[in-house]
């Protein structure tokens, strides 16, 4: 990890955070810090990403633990409002008032963000529409937008008012490949160097734009570090050969007809290669799923065959 990062630099700090829903521990003693730049949250369905982001967005309350955003405590009413003034939030399941026009919806959110002056609102709306490439759609009804356009509209509303902290829950879900690249460009060019936290299932996104990665598994933080460090966790666990390998946890045939394997220990004599971020993530999630080491591996290995 980046040893130079001092506590002062951390925009978001979380200590001992827990949140239960009945018997489900959505978050279990989560500990982390997030600084400037883009942090990617990785984790399978149900890992607790949305729960964590909603707590950071001050719309969900933890059962235990402390949260600090810009040194402010969301448990305090006045400080919570201060956090919200500096926040842009894209919920995972953002619904729209479907009768609204695109610009009308953004205008509404801009009022919620306390942009009272009508002209300034119009300027902000025009700015964020251009940022997500929807300027031609300003007058369209939301119900007439495609799913990907709605997703971009969701991103646009999060950008209103130039927030210092952007929390984006699966922002690239439903975007076509071009729009995914445009989204990366957009995040890289945001003015004011905001702190960005995004959750995603696309490890591509993480390796492409995130300076930090946090892997959540079943409510616990299992990894924090850079994407390169996540890839390194699988170093020595990826090898290639000409046939399928029964010892591998996962095997797949590449375009060059060689088999690529991910597993606990490569057999003697095979060619070990550099691991990717995906492989680091995959290995991590399987290790945690099957802590009983070899038996666990074999079982998964058999099922895969």
């Amino acid at each position: 990890m980046d040893e130079m990062t001092t506590d002062v630099d951390l925009a978001v700090r979380v200590e001992g955070l827990s949140r239960r829903y009945g018997p489900v521990r959505a978050l279990d003693d989560v500990e982390m810090g997030m600084g400037r730049g883009i942090t990617g949250l990785l984790g399978p369905n149900g890992a607790g990403k949305t729960t964590l982001l909603s707590i950071l967005a001050t719309i969900n309350q933890p059962d235990a633990g402390r949260v600090s955003v810009f040194g402010l405590d969301p448990a305090d009413t006045a400080q919570r409002v201060e956090i919200r003034r500096r926040l842009g939030f894209l919920p995972q399941e953002l619904g729209f008032h479907r009768h609204f026009t695109v610009a009308g919806f953004l205008d509404y959110v801009a009022i919620l963000k306390e942009i009272v002056d009508r002209r300034r609102r119009a300027e902000e709306v025009a700015r964020v529409l251009a940022a997500v490439g929807l300027q031609g759609m300003a007058g369209r009804r939301i119900r007439a937008l495609s799913g990907g356009m709605r997703q971009r509209l969701g991103i646009a509303q999060a950008l209103l008012g130039d927030p210092d902290l952007l929390l984006l829950d699966e922002p690239t879900a439903g975007l076509d490949p071009e729009q995914q690249l445009r989204f990366r460009e957009l995040l890289s060019n945001l003015p004011g160097d905001p702190t960005i936290v995004l959750s995603t299932h696309q490890v591509d996104d993480v390796s492409a734009i995130c300076s930090h990665v946090v892997v959540l598994l079943a409510g616990k933080v299992r990894f924090t570090g850079t994407p390169a460090e996540l890839a390194d966790t699988a170093a020595g666990h990826v090898w290639t050969s000409h046939q399928r390998d029964p010892h591998a946890l996962l095997s797949w045939r590449g375009g060059d007809n060689r088999w690529r394997h991910l597993g606990e220990r490569p057999p003697a004599g095979v060619e070990v290669t550099a691991a990717t971020v995906d492989e680091g993530y995959l290995l991590l999630s399987h290790t945690v799923d099957n802590p009983s080491t070899t038996r666990g591996w074999r079982r998964v290995g058999r099922r895969d065959r």
């Binding site: 909603s54 967005a57 001050t58 719309i59 969900n60 309350q61 969301p74 009413t77 919570r80 409002v81 919200r84 003034r85 926040l87 939030f89 919920p91 953002l94 619904g95 729209f96 008032h97 479907r98 009768h99 609204f100 026009t101 695109v102 610009a103 009308g104 919806f105 953004l106 205008d107 509404y108 959110v109 009022i111 919620l112 963000k113 306390e114 009272v116 002056d117 009508r118 002209r119 609102r121 119009a122 300027e123 709306v125 025009a126 529409l129 251009a130 300027q135 300003a138 007058g139 509303q157």
Partner: protein, 295 residues
């Protein structure tokens, strides 16, 4: 008010209703106040002659930027007559903007209010007609209308409150704009939007002339009870509780007294007391209105 109406500023200056050079120059150098600037922009979007004239004063970049702002502003939509009226009366413009997302101010909801009232009032009139000929009972004449009026108010509040009816409620919750103010603005507008048709319908049902006025306090009381209840129990339970505070007395009274006793003088005192008590509860517990944080 000192601010002149936009269109008048624009057309006052130039020949033939066009913008004068002075106004254009002032606009180009950002010397116009907001209202005047808007009026220039509103005119320029529709008038190519003035657009050309303006180009002499404004640099390209600024014009391009302004154009996208203009398009965005146009797409937000011009405020309708109701909104213009309210904003002239002094209601802040941005509050009215927020109400644009209030389900209980949507045409479909207002139409259903009117529809239900028309049916109930029609039923009362019809029942009264039959009863006069000796074949009906008081139950059919006023009780349905009495029951339905405040319940419609309640429905409007429920629409304004329940996250179910606000698909982007997570955005409202995570925004700095106080949740209490948003909900109150919605609830008040819902109250007014239902109260007016209820009072009008009361003129048509075969009750006494004071019935429209007598409906106001019970409606207000049910509304206050709903607000108070939602700070104590969940939204669904609050709806049931507040509906019951109206429905039960109506039925009990109608069973033993003339149905109208529930809105007569003594009852009015009770409704006023109830409204006041509920208002106090809602005020004291107002921080519970905030979604998400308080469970």
């Amino acid at each position: 008010m000192t601010t002149p109406f936009p269109d008048q500023v624009a057309s006052a200056d130039g020949p033939g209703g066009h913008l004068g050079g002075e106004v254009l120059a002032a606009y180009a150098t950002n010397r116009l106040d907001e209202v005047a600037a808007w009026s220039v922009e509103a005119h320029v979007t529709t008038c190519s002659a003035c657009r050309v004239a303006l180009r002499a004063f404004v640099d390209r970049d600024r014009l391009a930027r302004n154009r996208s702002v203009l398009l965005a502003a146009a797409a937000v939509g011009e405020p309708g007559p109701a909104r213009r009226l309210l904003s002239r009366v002094g209601v802040p413009e941005h509050l009215l903007g927020l109400l644009a997302a209030t389900p209980s101010l949507r045409r479909s909801w207002l139409l259903s209010v009117l529809g239900v009232l028309a049916v109930v009032a029609g039923e009362s009139v019809l029942a009264n007609h039959l009863w006069n000929r000796g074949s009906g009972s008081t139950w059919g004449v006023l009780v349905p209308f009495l029951l339905v009026g405040p319940l419609l108010v309640l429905g409007g509040v429920a629409l304004a409150f329940l996250p179910l009816f606000d698909p982007s409620h997570q955005l409202a919750a995570a925004a700095p704009f106080p949740g209490v103010n948003l909900l109150l603005a919605r609830a008040v507008s819902a109250l007014l939007a239902a109260l007016l048709p209820v009072a009008v319908a009361a003129f048509f049902v075969p009750g006494p002339g004071w019935l429209p006025a007598a409906m106001l306090l019970p409606c207000l009381a049910v509304w206050c009870v709903a607000l108070a209840a939602v700070t104590v129990v969940g939204a669904t339970a609050a709806a049931v509780v507040s509906a019951a505070t109206w429905v039960l007395p109506v039925i009990v009274v109608a069973a033993s007294h003339p149905a109208l006793a529930v809105v007569r003088w003594h009852a009015q005192v009770a409704w006023a007391a109830l409204a006041a008590a509920a208002a106090v509860v809602a005020f004291v517990r107002r921080d519970r209105f905030e979604m998400g944080w308080t469970r």
